[in-house]
Amino acid sequence: MKALGRWEGMLAGLILLLYAGFGIGVDGFLSPYALADGTVNVSERLVIAMAMAMLICAGEIDLSIAATMALASLAMGLAMQAGAPLPLMLLAGVATGAACGLLNGWLVTRRGLPSIVVTIGTLSLYRGLALVLLGDQAITGYPEALSTLGNGTLGDLVGVPWLIVPIEFGIAVLFAGGVAVWMHRTVHGRRIYAVGANPVAARFSGIAVDRYRLGLFVFAGVAAALAAALLTGRIGSTRPNLAAGWELDAITIALLGGVAIQGGRGSMVGVMLAALLLGGFTFALGMLNVPGIVVSTILGALLIGAMVLPKVLPAPGSRVG
């Protein structure tokens, strides 16, 4: 389960190429403020992409992760309207996320249902509940502290004005780093890979397969709540269509990062690099006024290209971890 390999090297090279290319081609792309701005759209996606990567490594998938974000954000908004202070609001969000994950995990492990079907169902259910509760309304008026979480810089926190790294990005990288260490340096991580590689063999080796699966779904729910807190703070409002379609972004990041869709293989460092690559790319095209839909078209093509290339090239990039 190597964290670094040929695939990660290629991603790092692509990131360098991207920043060098756009740095020369686009005026101001390499200015510190632009670089800091470029991390914003990727931070929340990085958080859910890490959780998604863990699930895919374990041979599962969570298509409801973005819908869970909407519900968690909604829970924070409702808690605020009920007069709860910020810590209680965040707790409400996390509890909602965990509950959503628990339902997914329960259906998958206790009822023995395939996670793709379960989470297509809960995607509809969670997003539908957000629609029912909010209708065409939006919740706004979040406290200043939450807005700082989404828009402030680490420099503001410690009183160093030149440190313009967004707080969001700091939290996301910390979170992703924690996940990477957990997956690559602890026995639990190795067991998760084992579950994904062959659940039957893993069970016979004494791994509590279903407990890991359930735990991962709950963790994905909590990660969605964290991402929802960051996103809600950044945009300052909750709408039922919050983060719509982000589950696909998270899957794209995980797979581009080299995680095998069949489970059992994938480096978390690769996922982090893929998130940075896609984030930088999206931001650069944004600066060039390329419409969002064209960007997602290119990302779709990239995703397929990332899958086809190792099959076509003589030296396969799909090494066994």
Partner: protein, 326 residues
């Protein structure tokens, strides 16, 4: 044969639920029990039925086609643009164009899946983004609005054949043909065998790659056909046409008892799933429940129907990893 009896029991109970739902809604609002309202539901469901017929065949092979809604949007846009540029074109040519373009897009999925051996969910996730993006590029982001839509395309949904709306006739024809192909066509039976046990299917000499290619091309062709009909029905073509509709299509299949794990599923069940979604969507406004409930109800029903099916699904699932790692 227990599997066969199990599915028909499932279908019977789903139909019973639909009938109960219709009667319940009809009791609250008698207007729901009229022929007019039944025709509305059937008309609404016709496009979904066409897409479900294609998706079900893909699901039978253990695949999935997430790109159907994007394919629909792109093909619909191409037909709208061609129809706008050449208003004198006969409608038959446009229909052929829709099926052709759709099949070509589906074949791209099929080639990547069958020849490059890529997982269907990843491939169609990618082409889902690409096809919709190409629809944007083809139109430059502009809408093709009502007055610019080819008269023939607009006339399609209003046309009738022996008093039955043409949309329903087309859907019935497509569904019947695909069902017959699955039931009696040697290729159709091979498709089901392929999903039931891919390794055994290859051992007995089923041409796996050819069948996969055909299946995705079929799903694409039907998405293309649905695309031109969709443009006609709503008299508009734009980039976000039917965005997210792929989930509704898959939901109808799952509610109808088609297994995502492949090999299991019948056209009758899938059509009951289509009918269920059509009835629920039509019933909500009638009993004055906010349409915002639609999505939540669909989700709950998917979960309920797969949980009810847990026995057979769990068996397939338990079998699967061992086979795949073999």
């Amino acid at each position: 044969m227990t599997a066969g009896r199990f599915t028909s029991l499932r279908e019977a109970s789903l139909l019973a639920v639909i009938v109960a739902l219709v009667l319940l809604v009809g009791w609250r609002a008698p207007v729901f029990l009229t022929l007019r309202s039944a025709l509305d539901v059937a008309n609404e469901s016709a496009l979904l039925a066409i897409l479900v017929a294609g998706q079900m065949v893909v699901l039978l092979t253990r695949g999935v086609d997430l790109s159907v809604a994007s394919n629909l949007a792109l093909t619909g846009m191409v037909c709208a643009l061609v129809g706008q540029a050449v208003p004198s074109l006969p409608i038959g040519v446009l229909l052929a164009l829709a099926v052709g373009v759709g099949a070509a897009l589906g074949a791209v999925n099929g080639l990547l899946i069958a020849l490059c051996r890529l997982p269907p969910i990843v491939v169609t996730l990618g082409t889902m983004a690409v096809y919709r993006g190409v629809a944007y590029l083809a139109s430059g982001g502009a809408w093709v609005s009502e007055q610019d839509i080819h008269a023939g395309i607009k006339a399609l949904p209003r046309a009738e054949l022996l008093g039955v709306p043409l949309l329903i006739v087309i859907a019935a024809g497509v569904v019947g043909a695909v069902a017959a192909w699955l039931r009696w066509g040697p290729a159709g039976r091979e498709v089901r065998a392929l999903g039931n046990n891919p390794d055994a299917a290859v051992y007995v000499g089923i041409p796996e790659r050819t069948r996969l290619l055909q299946v995705y091309a079929l799903s694409g062709a039907l998405a293309g056909l649905a695309g031109v009909l969709w443009v006609g029905r709503y008299a508009i073509a734009f980039t976000d046409l039917a965005a997210g509709y792929e989930l509704t299509v898959i939901a109808a299949c799952v509610i109808g008892g088609v297994s995502i794990a492949g090999g299991i599923g019948r056209m009758g069940g899938a059509m009951a799933g289509v009918l269920f979604i059509g009835v629920v969507n039509a019933a909500l406004p009638v009993i004055q429940v906010s349409p915002f409930w639609q999505q939540a109800i669909a989700g709950a029903v998917i979960l309920l129907s797969v949980a009810l099916n847990a026995g057979s699904q769990a068996r397939t699932r338990a079998r699967q990893p061992i086979l795949e790692k073999a």
